[in-house]
């Protein structure tokens, strides 16, 4: 083998000019392939690290209330934070993601804005992120520190462009009209506490508040949380895994409201359970419950169902059409609430709801549940707890509704359309990682790679025609030489292999040089500074420079692929050379 290698290497250097020309072509193709792949991956990295991680977090938990994706609120925030801590113990930071569209009025000028909450000096913000902030915003007046200044009335930070559009200066008062978390139209006076020039054109649109300020303006209560973004150390490795783990930890328990039911002069400890009113749950309830009397049975009224068992009805004297009230204790701040219910049906005793229990349609149940989060839990003791093996159990609602994980952006958008369509009353909880939330970025990278790959393969097709042609010429030139080596005992397979090794070495050396050239080109190109201005393509730059992210795996793949293709292409001419008989080859003369 060693002598074959020596012969191949000698042959390669013997025809230096031809080898250099062919090698240059292969090197050029390799360099383009590596460069384009590194650029596509760089775009993807920039989009993920500089944009997606800010607008979607590494892992996100959303809470859609009332089927409106803009209405993000969960009323037992401490519990969610505890689950996050348990499931993702290494989480660096949990950011509250708040952003609402608003109309702002400055000095005689009005413009649309997005009110965004931030806490740049909050817990978990490390030096690296502080550096990122410093690079992203050049402050003209004040700084983000002013946003937390309690002596200023609703401090707000604006970009230079937005300040110009609203004709406001540092310290000016502007007004803003927005819709709060409850859907009410509100107005607020804001004080311009900082003006900055953002490095990214997209940062010109939002106006920034301290998250505490925007929470107050939008009407979030002390125990409420909006959509949450989790920032972790190694999103590439852990984002999906943590999202899966968090999703498993967010399985909702059964929703129960334990309270005192008052009817006429009687008061009796009772549990309210949620009867879901989607068609599957209604069918489940129909098969499990035998209604013996009811006010009406049309579909509209079924969605207003309030059902008690015949035994409970007999004990309390309730019948369909009667109104009762249930007072219950809230979880927070010693609150109490009362819910009024109109009984619509009596079910036969023995249907799994034998006891002091009222099945309440999801609309009325969740209104009461979310208005005052009850102290009672399914795990605790109460007047009634359903048998989990009973058929009706599947029709009962949880404290929230956890939707399956979406695998792509498209799936996620489909899910949100479904949420809006189905009119679920429970808060819909969705967990996603940045790789699903922004799977279109990965698709973009894939598309760029595919386009480059196809183009370079076309280039290689032309190059490989050159390889075949060169080999044919070489074989022709070396016919007598082949005859000589065959005559002194060289085997056919060795003749063939010598040509294959020669081509393989040429391709390998060229591919390695091509990779080195690609790295040199990346270094050179990333030194160039581009002034993108307001061009959205500026978002693909890092500090005004192109960003390349070559990966070892991709480079090894390309090199192996190129060498492989070259060797396969060389195989057929090499085999033909090997098939020459020694006598015929020695007789060859040109």
């Amino acid at each position: 083998m060693d002598f074959l290698f020596t012969i191949s290497l000698r042959n390669l250097f013997r025809q230096r000019r031809r080898s250099i020309l062919l090698g240059t072509a292969i090197m050029f193709g390799t360099a383009i392939l590596v460069l384009a792949n590194a650029f596509a991956h760089g775009i993807s990295e920039v989009l993920f690290n500089e944009i997606v991680s800010y607008v979607a977090g590494h892992v996100s938990v959303s809470f859609t209330k009332g089927g409106n994706a803009n209405n993000q609120i969960f009323h037992d925030g401490d519990r969610i934070r505890a689950i996050i801590k348990e499931r993702v113990p290494s989480v660096k930071r949990v950011d509250e993601a708040i952003g609402v569209f608003a109309r702002a009025i400055g000095n005689g000028k009005a413009d649309n804005v997005v009110m965004v909450g931030m806490d740049p000096s909050g817990e978990g913000v490390d030096e690296k992120e502080m550096e990122k902030y410093a690079k992203a915003f050049t402050f003209i007046n004040g700084s983000f520190d002013n946003l937390g200044d309690s002596t200023i009335e609703n401090p707000v930070g604006l970009s230079v462009e937005k300040a110009k559009a609203l004709n406001v200066k540092y310290g000016d008062v502007m007004r803003v009209r927005y819709t709060d978390i409850h859907g009410q139209t509100q107005a607020a006076r804001l004080t311009v506490a900082t003006i900055y020039k953002p490095s990214n054109v997209f940062m010109s649109v939002p106006i920034f508040f301290h998250v505490k300020t925007v929470r107050r303006l939008l009407g979030y209560g002390p125990h409420d949380v909006p959509q949450l973004y989790l920032i972790i150390d190694n999103p590439k490795r852990d984002a999906k895994r943590f999202a899966d783990s968090l999703h498993a930890g967010l399985k909702p328990p059964l929703a129960v409201i334990d309270g005192d039911l008052s009817f006429r002069s009687e008061t009796i400890a009772t549990t309210l359970l949620c009867l879901r009113t989607d068609s599957a749950s209604l069918a489940c309830a129909d098969s499990g419950l035998r209604l013996i009397s009811q006010t009406a049975n049309d579909s509209a009224n079924r969605k207003k169902s309030v059902i008690v068992s015949s035994a409970f009805a007999a004990a309390t004297g309730m019948k369909p059409g009667d109104t009762c009230s249930v007072a219950f204790e809230g979880k927070f701040d010693s609150s109490r609430a009362t819910v009024r219910l109109i009984v619509t049906a009596i079910a036969d005793t023995g249907a799994g709801i034998d006891g002091n229990v009222v099945l309440v349609n999801e609309k009325d149940f969740y209104k009461a549940f979310y208005d005052t989060w009850p102290k009672s839990t399914a795990a605790g003791t109460g007047p009634f707890r359903p048998d989990t093996t009973n058929g009706i159990y599947k029709a009962l609602g949880g404290e929230w509704l956890l939707v399956p994980r979406s695998s792509t952006t498209k799936d996620m958008m489909k899910l949100y359309r479904e949420i809006a369509q189905k009119g679920w009353r429970a808060i819909v909880v969705d967990v996603g990682s940045m790789y699903e939330t922004a799977s279109m970025v990965l698709n973009l990278e894939y598309a760029l790679n595919l386009i480059t790959f196809i183009c370079v393969m076309l280039l290689f097709f032309i190059i490989l025609i050159g390889v075949i042609n060169t080999l044919r010429m070489t074989i022709r030139e070396r016919t007598r030489e082949i005859g000589t080596v065959r005559a002194i005992g060289m085997q056919r397979v060795d003749v063939r292999n010598s040509f294959l090794i020669e081509t393989g070495l040429l391709a390998l050396i060229s591919a390695v040089v091509g990779t080195i050239v690609a790295f040199a080109a990346m270094w050179g190109l990333s030194r160039l500074t581009f002034k993108a201005g307001e061009n959205p393509l500026g978002m693909l730059l890092v500090d005004g420079h192109l960003f390349f992210a070559p990966t070892a795996g991709a480079i090894v793949f390309f090199v192996v692929l190129i060498v492989g293709i070259a060797v396969v292409t060389a195989y057929f001419p090499a085999r033909r050379a090997a098939k020459l008989s020694a006598a015929d080859a020695l007789r060859h003369f040109e």
């Binding site: 859907g183 009410q184 509100q186 006076r189």
Partner: protein, 251 residues
């Protein structure tokens, strides 16, 4: 924002002696209650500051028995054929260009105007608002003149969260329960909108306001005029509140 619902069936038959705010609200609710189906032509003329006027014309069908309504935009040309259909809890937007129905929320804008889907709902004032009181617990109600008309001016505050404005002030005629003016405030007390009920017509012994002016007090220069004509209270066919009917109307 624009309570078109209220404008269509705000009628006047009740007189009060010494009214409480609750009784006035209940009186308005009684009058708001739709006694039949309704069909009307609604024109919204929207004037934005430093911009020209935008006129939106639509056919409006409504049936309260199953909380249904249908809106088909008939002008301008760019919006013509688009529509909105609500049946029970489902609310769809129809786009003529793509011939598609899309589920939307009740707070979605109608034809890009200030009117929202929930403005067409029939919610009771007494469910949404309660009397505002002073420090001594007295209801904030006074008698005054609105121009030459004696009115009750009273203040209400939201008792539920899902209302457009947390505070409102109403001017209601003393001799009959007709709302003449309404101001809406944010929680911070900022005056956000003033509504004037300008012209009324009598339909089956009910006074129906057919011209209203909504002034945006937040962004000066914005105003919307709502005009209603061609009102019919004949029973509407069931097939009107269907996707197929909306599609046919849009052709």
């Amino acid at each position: 924002m624009i309570r078109i619902f209220g404008s269509i069936l705000l009628a006047a038959t009740v007189t009060f002696g010494a009214p409480s705010i609750d009784s006035l609200l209940k009186g308005l609710d009684d009058l708001y209650k739709q006694v039949s189906d309704i069909k009307a032509v609604v024109t919204l003329t929207q004037q934005k500051a430093n911009q020209g006027a935008k006129k939106l014309e639509m056919m409006y069908y409504r049936r309260d028995s199953d909380q249904s309504f249908l809106i088909v935009i008939t002008g301008p040309e760019a919006e013509k054929g688009n529509g909105y259909l609500r049946v029970g809890d489902n609310f769809w937007m129809y786009r003529k260009n793509t011939r598609t129905f899309q589920h939307i929320n009740r707070d979605e804008s109608i034809g890009g105007s200030d009117a929202h889907g929930d403005d067409f709902e029939g919610r009771l004032l007494t469910e949404m608002y309660e009397p505002a009181r002073d420090d001594k617990g007295n209801e904030l109600i006074t008698e005054e003149m609105l121009g030459k008309i004696p009115v009750y001016r009273f203040e209400v505050k939201a008792k539920v969260n899902d209302v457009d404005y947390p505070k409102k002030v109403y001017w209601v005629r003393k001799d009959k329960t007709v709302m003449l003016k309404e101001t809406s405030y944010s929680a911070s007390g900022t005056l956000m909108q003033t509504a004037y009920f300008l012209t009324f017509t009598e339909i089956k012994k009910r006074l129906v306001p057919v011209k209203q002016l909504f002034v945006d007090e937040f962004e000066k220069g914005n105003k919307t005029i709502v005009e209603i004509s061609g009102i019919s209270i004949d029973k509407l066919d069931d097939q009107i509140f269907t996707k197929a009917y909306l599609e046919n109307l849009s052709k």
